[in-house]
C-alpha cells in the first residue's frame, strides 16, 4: 500500500472526503475496540462464572472427603450380649462405658450425663460394633479396638467449620461439649482419615454415615438399561433414515419428529413415564429399570442425530466401490459404512449417555428420590441415582449434608468428565479424515 498524500489526491471534493475519513477513523477504531472490549468482558464473565461454580463446589466439598473418627477400646461384655441372637445386645452401653474411661468425673450411670458424652460419636457407632461382633462372635469377652465416626457437629468442629470463636449461643456445639471433645483429642484418639464411607455406604439420615454406593449402582443400572435400549434402536433408526428411507412425507415427519423430540423438556418425559410406565403398565416405582427406559427415550434423538452425522461423513466412494463389486445395499451398509462410522457413533453415544447420567427431573417423577438405605441388587430394586441423590442431600437440613452434596457433585462431575474424555479420545484416535 502506498500512502496517498493530499497533493496527489487532486481535486477539492475528494480531498475533503479523505480528510473526513481520516478524522473519523479514530472514532471508528475506538468503536471497534469497544466492541472487542465487550466481547472480552462477556467471555471473562462466562469463564469466571465457571471458575466460581467449580471453586465453590470444591471449597465446600473437600471437607466431606475426610471424616473425623474416634478410636475406642471397647470391652464386649458377655453379660450384655445375647449369645443366641447376637443382634440383640446393649452395644450402646459398652461404647458408653469405654467413652466413660476418658471422663472420670462423669457419672456414666446418669443417662443425661452419659448422653452428653456419647453424642460426640455417631449414632451408627453401636451398629458398627454390633457388625464386628456378629461377624466374629469370638470377640465376646474381649476388648475390641474400633474406630467409629464422630457425629456431624463434632466432625464440623474438628474440621474448623464450626468456629470456636463464635458466641456460644450461636454455635451448635456448646463450650462444655468442646471441652469434652478436646479431652478426647488430647488423649490422641481423634483422627481424620479418608472418608471411604462416601462410596462404600448407601444413604443415611446421618451425614457422617451417608454414602453414594446406592446412587452409583442405581445410576449404573439405569445407564445400562438406557444403553441397551437406545443404542440399537438409535443406530437402526439412523441407518434407515440415512441410507434407505425414500424421500417421502413419512420420512419428513419422522425427521421433524426426532428434531422436536430432542428439544422436549425433560420433565415431560417424566410425566410420560409416570403415566404410562407406572400408571398403565404397573412397573415398579423407583426402579432403575424404569429410569433407564425413560432416559433411553431422551437419549434416542441424540444418538440418532450423531449416528446420521457419522454415516454422512463416510464418503460415497466407499459405497460405490462396494456396490460395484456386487454387494447388496445392506451388505454395503453393514460391512463397510457402519464399521467406518463406528467411532463417530460411539462418541455420540457416550456423550448422550453422559447427558443421561446428569438428568434429574424425569427420575424425580418416577420416584427415584426415595430414601433408601441399602444398595440395589438389581435393576428392579428401588434405588436412587447420582443426580437425585444430590437433590435429596441438597434438600436435607443437616449441616453436614452441604459439604456432602458438593462432594457428590464432584463425584458426578468426575464421572461426566471421564466419559467425555473417553469420547474425545475415541474421536481423536479413530476418526478418519477423508
Amino acid at each position: 500500500m502506498t500512502d496517498i498524500t493530499p497533493e496527489q489526491a487532486g481535486s477539492g471534493s475528494s480531498h475533503s472526503a479523505t480528510e473526513l475519513v481520516r478524522k473519523s477513523l479514530a472514532r471508528r477504531n475506538r468503536k471497534q475496540r469497544v466492541l472487542q472490549g465487550f466481547g472480552i468482558a462477556a467471555i471473562f464473565f462466562a469463564l469466571s462464572m465457571l471458575v466460581i461454580l467449580i471453586g465453590s463446589l470444591i471449597s465446600t466439598g473437600y471437607p466431606a472427603f475426610t471424616q473425623t473418627h474416634v478410636e475406642l477400646e471397647v470391652y464386649v461384655d458377655p453379660d450384655e450380649v445375647n449369645p443366641d441372637n447376637l443382634s440383640r445386645g446393649s452395644y450402646d452401653e459398652m461404647i458408653a462405658v469405654s467413652m466413660g474411661a476418658y471422663f472420670p468425673g462423669v457419672d456414666m450411670t446418669d443417662r443425661t450425663a452419659a448422653r452428653e458424652v456419647t453424642q460426640i460419636l455417631s449414632s451408627g457407632a453401636q451398629l458398627l460394633l454390633r457388625e464386628r461382633v456378629i461377624a466374629d462372635p469370638s470377640l465376646i469377652g474381649q476388648t475390641v479396638n474400633i474406630k467409629v465416626p464422630a457425629s456431624d457437629n463434632f466432625d464440623q468442629l474438628n474440621k474448623g467449620l464450626v468456629k470456636r470463636d463464635t458466641p456460644e449461643r450461636l454455635r451448635r456445639v456448646d463450650d462444655a461439649a468442646i471441652e469434652r471433645f478436646d479431652t478426647l483429642n488430647e488423649a490422641g484418639i481423634i483422627s481424620t482419615p479418608l472418608n471411604t464411607r462416601l462410596v462404600t455406604n448407601a444413604d443415611s439420615r446421618f451425614p457422617e454415615l451417608a454414602g453414594l454406593k446406592g446412587a452409583i449402582i442405581g445410576s449404573f443400572w439405569a445407564l445400562l438399561t438406557c444403553f441397551v435400549i437406545s443404542f440399537p434402536i438409535g443406530i437402526g433408526a439412523a441407518i434407515y433414515l440415512e441410507e434407505f428411507a425414500p424421500k417421502n412425507r413419512l420420512s419428513d415427519i419422522i425427521e421433524i419428529n426426532i428434531n422436536n423430540l430432542a428439544a422436549v423438556p425433560s420433565v415431560v418425559f417424566g410425566l410420560l413415564a409416570l403415566a404410562v410406565f407406572l400408571g398403565w403398565f404397573g412397573m415398579p416405582r423407583s426402579a432403575p429399570l424404569v429410569g433407564g427406559i425413560t432416559l433411553a427415550l431422551m437419549t434416542l434423538p441424540t444418538i440418532i442425530i450423531a449416528t446420521r452425522a457419522a454415516l454422512k461423513a463416510v464418503p460415497p466412494s466407499i459405497r460405490e466401490a462396494a456396490l460395484g463389486v456386487g454387494a447388496s445395499k445392506q451388505q454395503v451398509v453393514f460391512h463397510h459404512v457402519l464399521p467406518l462410522a463406528m467411532p463417530g457413533i460411539l462418541t455420540g453415544t457416550i456423550i448422550g449417555l453422559a447427558q443421561a447420567l446428569g438428568e434429574t427431573a424425569p427420575l424425580l417423577l418416577i420416584g427415584m428420590n426415595a430414601f433408601i438405605t441399602s444398595a440395589p441388587s438389581g435393576p428392579f430394586d428401588s434405588a436412587t441415582a447420582l443426580p437425585t441423590q444430590i437433590f435429596i442431600w441438597a434438600d436435607s437440613p443437616e449441616r453436614g449434608f452441604v459439604s456432602r452434596t458438593s462432594a457428590a457433585i464432584l463425584v458426578l462431575l468426575t464421572f461426566l468428565i471421564s466419559m467425555n474424555a473417553i469420547a474425545i479420545y475415541l474421536r481423536q484416535k479413530f476418526e478418519r479424515k477423508w
Binding site: L53, L57, Y240, I254, V268, T360, L365, T405
Partner: protein
Amino acid sequence: MVLFAFTMLLCATMLAYFVNRRAALSIRAGGVQLHSLESFHGLFAALSVLVPVLVGILLWLALEGTAVDGFMLRSLPEGTFEGLDSGASQLIVAEIKSIAGGRVFGTPEPWKIEAAERLVRYHRIADWLLVALVATSATILLWFARRSVAEQFRARQSAERIVLGLMIFCATAAIFVTIGIVFALTFETIKFFQIVPITEFLFGTSWEPQIPIREDQVAAEGAFGAVPVFLGTIVISTVALFVAIPVGLMTAIYLNEFAPHRVRKTVKPILEILAGVPTVVYGFFAVLTVAPAIRQFAATIGVDVAPNTALAAGGVMGIMLIPFISSFADDALSAVPRSLRDGALALGATRGEMMLNVLFPAAIPGIVGGVLLAVSRAIGETMIVVMAAGLIAKMTINPLDSVTAVTVQIVTLLIGDTSFDNPKTLSAFALGMMLFLITLIINIFALRIVRKYREIYD
C-alpha cells in the same frame, strides 16, 4: 427365570444360525449352486427365531404384572374393596405385594397372607409358562427355518427384508414416543378438566393446589388458576435471557471475528463445559452461592429481598444458556458467505463495522432461531427452578420477589404421590400439557427459521 428365558432364546438363535448354515453348506458340498450365501441362510434362521420370540417375551413381561394382579384381586374375599376409595384399595394391594416380597410389617390379616401366597404362586406359574412358551415357540420356529433351506431359497432377500423391517420399526420408535407423550398428557388433562373448568385453569389468577386431606378439613378447596404460575416462568426466563443473550452474542461475535486462533480454540471447549454441567449442579450452585450473594448485596444497599428470588434462579439459568446461544450465534455468523464479509472490508469498513452492519444483520435469522430454542429451554428447565425458586404462586413481575414456575409445580405436585384421581396430581399433567404445547410451538418455529436460513446461503 426371565434371565433363563432370555438365555434360552439366545441359544436357540445361535443354534438356528449354525444349523441352517451347515445345512446350506452341505447342499453346496453336494455340488449344487445355492441362490444365497450360506451365512444368509443362517442369518435368516436366526432372525426368524429371534424376532417373534423376543417380541413375545417383551409383551409377556409388559402384561404379566397386570394380569397376575388381576387374578389375585379376583380371588380376594367378596366385598374387600366395598366402600373404599382408590387410595385405600391401592394401599391394600401394596401391602399384599410387600408381604409377597417377604417384607411383613406387624401381623396382617390371614386373608392378606393367603392372597400374598397366591400372588407368589401365580408369579411362579407365570414364569414357568413363559419358559415353556419360549421353548416350544423357539423349537417350532427353528424347525420351520430348517425346512426353508433349499438351493433356490432366496435367503438373502428374506433376511434383508426382516432387517429392513426392524430398521423401520426403530425409525418409527421416535414417533411412538411422541404419540405416547401426547396420549398420556391428553388423557390425564381431560380428566383434570372434567373436575376443574378449563377457563378457570387458563384465566384464573389464584393457584393453591392444596386440597383437603380429610372431608371435614377447613383448608382451602384448592384453586387452579394457572396465570401466576405461568407469570413466574416468564419472569425467571426473562431474567435468564437478559443474562444469556448479551453475553452469548458478545462471546460469539468476539470469538468469530476478533479472537486469535489460539484463544478461540481454547475458549470454545471451555465454554462447552458450561453446557455439559448437569442442571441439578446449577440448582445447588444457585442455592449455595448465588442466592446468598444476592441477598448480601441487597442487604448492603438496604434492599430486602426474598431468600429464593427469581433473580438467582434466572441468573444461574442464564449462565447455563450462554454456551447454547453463543454456539448457535457462532454457527450463524460462520454461515454468512465470505463474499459479504470481504465486500464490506473492501469498501473500507473496519472489522467492527463489518461485523455490526453486515455480518450480524445477515446472521439474524439464524441467531433468532437459536434464541428461540434457548427460550424453550428456559421454559422447560426444571432442576434449577425446583431448587432455587419458590413454591408459592404470586402475581408479580418483580424479579427480586420469590416466584414459582410451571416445572416447579409439576415436580412438587407429583413427588411422592401415586394416585391420579385427584385434581392436585392431575393439574400437574395439565401444566405439563401446556408446557409441551408451548415448547413444541416454539421449537417448530425455531427449527423452521434455522432451516430456512441455512437454505438461503447454502
